[in-house]
């Protein structure tokens, strides 16, 4: 009896020149995922990203908890960007439950969100540096990140997983004297990240390595549905903070940074501009924030909605547009929570970018897509 394999599983006869490499999941250059790369000499002929190693069922878990107890576990997909991951869920829950957020709380949220964006981008930049073999660029962002983590610790009480945003505002008011400390630290941080240009972004070897590699054209960027820094590096002026302002972003002067090249270098530089922009936003928010007032609306225990309702909210996270779709059926728990994550959208571009590239470009192109494996798997 012969067993016939279905066509997809049958062993293909491949050219002997072509070698298949399993990059990951146990590989220093992959993160929690696997990229199956086929190389001919030094050139990549095919690439097949294989995510899913850290799937944790966050969306299903959200169906068994009420609107408040969903908060700590929903920020787990990207703990370095925990405020931004939680932001769309909290906005959606507020709309469903019909809560009006105090003005001060909105500003506190903006400050926390921008600080967290910087923390995430610093972590991302550290790994981008070490992927290119630049160990100083690994250590500097990892060290300077501590400044903002200390700020977040003062603000929320936790260093990484803050669980600070709740439906109806933020969990706690700012500590006394926080505005001065925050302004000082952010000013120093801005001065510090400007120094990165000298050692990293203006480095001739880095420019020679990442310029004109993995070019994502404007049309392709839109067609694949990429978001965030990847989209902006391809010349599309798209930032949800400007296009669909939420909370108090419409009262702040937010500038969108766009680069036209669409190569790895542009994709690595746009987040750096974003950090500088975040510093500006934090300074503006600190100035315009009401000096006193409530930061949280008192909720009833186990709040629930009236009937079958749904809401979709999205924010600009450190990686791009992050959406949250909540369906409620008049119970204590949400009927369905769906996270629409930017990482997975950006990953779609990877096979097309890597085809025809050299093997040495694989880490820089892959990580410049601002991909966070845990978020993509949820």
């Amino acid at each position: 009896m012969t067993f016939v394999l279905p066509p997809g599983l049958a062993l293909q006869k491949v050219d002997e020149r072509i070698m298949t490499l399993n990059v990951g999941p146990q590989h220093p250059g992959s993160g929690h995922m696997r990229i199956v790369v086929q190389i001919d000499g030094d050139y990549i002929v095919a690439c097949d990203p294989d995510p899913g190693y850290v799937h944790r069922g966050e969306e299903k878990m959200a169906e068994y908890r009420n609107y408040i107890t969903n908060i700590p576990h929903l920020e787990r997909p990207v703990i370095h960007d925990s405020c931004n991951v939680l932001y769309p869920y909290v906005l959606g829950a507020e709309e469903l439950l019909g809560i009006e957020v105090p003005e001060r709380a909105k500003y506190v949220r903006v400050i926390a969100s921008e600080l967290n964006r910087c923390i995430y981008i610093m972590y991302w930049l550290a790994i981008y540096g070490i992927f290119l073999g630049h160990s100083t660029m690994f250590m500097w962002p990892a060290g300077d990140r501590e400044l903002l983590i200390d700020l977040m610790e003062k603000m929320t009480g936790a260093r990484v997983t803050h669980a600070h945003f709740v439906p109806g505002g933020v969990r706690n008011d700012l500590p006394p004297n926080f505005e001065d400390v925050c302004l000082r630290q952010v000013n120093y941080f801005e001065k510090r990240i400007k120094e990165y240009a000298a050692v990293f972004y203006d480095n001739p070897i880095l420019i020679a390595r990442t310029k004109d590699t993995g070019i994502l054209s404007r049309q392709d960027a839109i067609r694949y549905g990429t978001t965030g820094s990847v989209l902006r590096a391809s010349g599309v002026d798209y930032d949800l903070r400007v296009k669909e302002p939420y909370d108090v972003y419409d009262e702040l002067d937010v500038h969108t940074n766009v680069m036209k090249e669409g190569d790895s270098y542009a994709r690595s530089k746009v987040p750096w501009f974003d950090m500088l922009e975040s510093c500006n936003i934090i300074r503006q928010a600190l100035q315009k924030m009401p000096k006193s007032g409530s930061v949280r609306v008192k909720l009833k225990p186990n709040p629930k909605t009236k009937g079958l309702e749904s809401v979709y909210k999205r924010v600009e996270s450190g990686r791009g547009s992050l959406g949250c779709y909540i369906v409620s059926d008049a119970k204590v728990e949400p009927y369905r929570v769906k996270l629409s994550v930017p990482s997975f959208r950006n990953l779609i571009a990877l096979p097309n970018l890597l085809r025809g590239e050299k093997l040495g470009n694989m880490p820089s192109v892959y990580w410049s897509l601002n991909y966070w494996p845990v978020e993509a798997d949820r």
Partner: protein, 432 residues
């Protein structure tokens, strides 16, 4: 059927011998060295520096303390001392260990960290020893499909080649292990061994990532060997000799880097590539090919490769110093040995001395060693520095650099040397 070993098979036995070749060599050395010493007791040895030096005679200082200095003096004139201790392996290994420590601390300072800190009383100075102990105590795992004899032999060969490289380096006038007339050619020959050892190790591991790393190492070393050799031709033309000691001695008034800066720069860049240091660490690019050709090496095999790498680093830095920076030449800063001690110290009624063996080292030798070590440390610093500043480059950029730019520049260097030679400014023996 044999009763003693019923399942004995000669082929299996030979195979197991080959599997454990590393430990067999180690045990042979541990037993063999004492055995050689026993034989040396019996064999009559030649007279060195007025002393008949057999190991037996070497112990006569126990009976007569005044013989300590002559015996030490005679021992220092032997080849064993030169190979094992001063200009050879021991000296190089000490400098290599210092290099590792300095590298870690310097990079840490550059990157806002503290580096090794807890091992040892002062700033983690014993960290290297701790790392070595860890590597020795680890299990050595060999891939099942590896070609075992070659896989075992590669790290040992790597260290042996690096040690052979060290042997050519003249540290002070007359202090060199192998004072070969064709010294520079010997150096080229030894450098030519490294890519072979690398590709053998990578290929025999029978694994994909080491294979790619080995191919990359082969590309890199072969394509940079040509500019390496060409960039040194200028020095050879001006000196008229291939003997490294003579090349060093010819720079008593000025180092060759003054006249051949292009050659020095080309040699420095090719040196970085041969050493697989950042920005040329493609064979070990971790984010692309795990650890390159070192991926399957574990335990002390990895440790041996690291030892060989740092010995090689010292040897290349020393070669740069000898060829371009004047080797041991430098102003005399070491004070002469006090004459009073030689003639005997008067302490009231008694006079101690005179001491027949003193001074152990001549003033020139100490001064030469001091300048040599200082210059080598400086070059090693510049070899380490790019690691904190540059990212890694790509294979195509590397090959482009090696084959087009560096070879062109080294020909420019040769023409500069020829111009200097025919213009009569310089010639064999220095400034005309």
């Amino acid at each position: 059927m044999s009763v003693i070993a019923p399942k004995f098979k000669l082929s299996e036995f030979i195979k197991s011998l080959l599997d454990n070749i590393f430990w067999i060599i180690l045990i042979l050395v541990l037993i063999g060295l004492p055995a050689v010493m026993m034989i040396l007791f019996v064999i009559e040895m030649p007279v060195i520096d007025g002393e008949l030096l057999t190991p037996f005679l070497a112990f006569t200082w126990m009976a007569d303390p005044t013989r300590i200095l002559p015996v030490v003096h005679a021992f220092m004139a032997t080849d064993i001392f030169r190979v094992m201790a001063f200009p050879g392996f021991g000296f190089a290994a000490l400098l290599a260990a210092a290099t590792i420590f300095v590298e870690r601390k310097m990079l840490a300072k550059l990157q806002l960290r503290v580096g090794p800190f807890y091992c040892g009383k002062f700033e983690g100075i014993l960290q290297l020893m701790g790392d070595g102990l860890k590597l020795i105590s680890k299990e050595i795992i060999i891939p099942a499909k590896a070609d075992k004899p070659i896989f075992w032999a590669a790290p040992v060969l790597f260290v042996a080649a690096a040690a052979a490289f060290v042997a050519f380096i003249p540290v002070a006038p007359g202090w060199v292990v192998a004072d070969v007339e064709m010294g520079l050619l010997g150096v080229f020959a030894v450098i030519g061994f490294f890519p072979i050892i690398t590709i053998l190790s990578a290929w025999s591991a029978n694994s994909k990532f080491p294979f790619i790393g080995g191919i990359r190492a082969l590309f890199q070393m072969v394509s940079f060997e040509i500019p390496l050799i060409l960039s040194l031709l200028g020095v050879v033309m001006l000196t008229g000799s291939l003997n490294l000691s003579e090349i060093a001695a010819s720079q008593s008034s000025f180092p060759w880097i003054v006249f051949l800066p292009v050659g020095a720069i080309v040699f420095f860049i090719t040196m970085l590539a041969e050493l697989e240091r950042i920005p040329f660490d493609l064979p070990e690019a971790e984010s692309e090919i795990v650890a390159g050709w070192l991926t399957e090496l574990s335990g002390m095999m990895y440790g041996l490769v690291q030892l060989g790498t740092y010995l090689k680093l010292y040897a290349f830095a020393a070669l740069f110093v000898v060829l371009f920076l004047g080797g041991w030449n430098g102003p005399m800063v070491v004070p002469p040995f006090p004459v009073e001690i030689l003639e005997g110290i008067e302490m009231g009624p008694i006079t101690v001395g005179p001491f027949p063996g003193l001074p152990l080292f001549t003033q020139e030798m100490l001064n030469g060693t001091l300048w040599f070590v200082l210059k080598t440390a400086g070059i090693i610093f510049f070899i380490l520095l790019p690691r904190g500043v540059f990212p890694r480059i790509r294979v195509d950029m590397l090959l482009n650099l090696g084959w087009s730019k560096l070879i062109g520049l080294s020909f420019v260097n040769i023409f500069i040397a020829l111009g200097l030679l025919y213009a009569g400014v310089l010639g064999p023996g220095g400034l005309q």
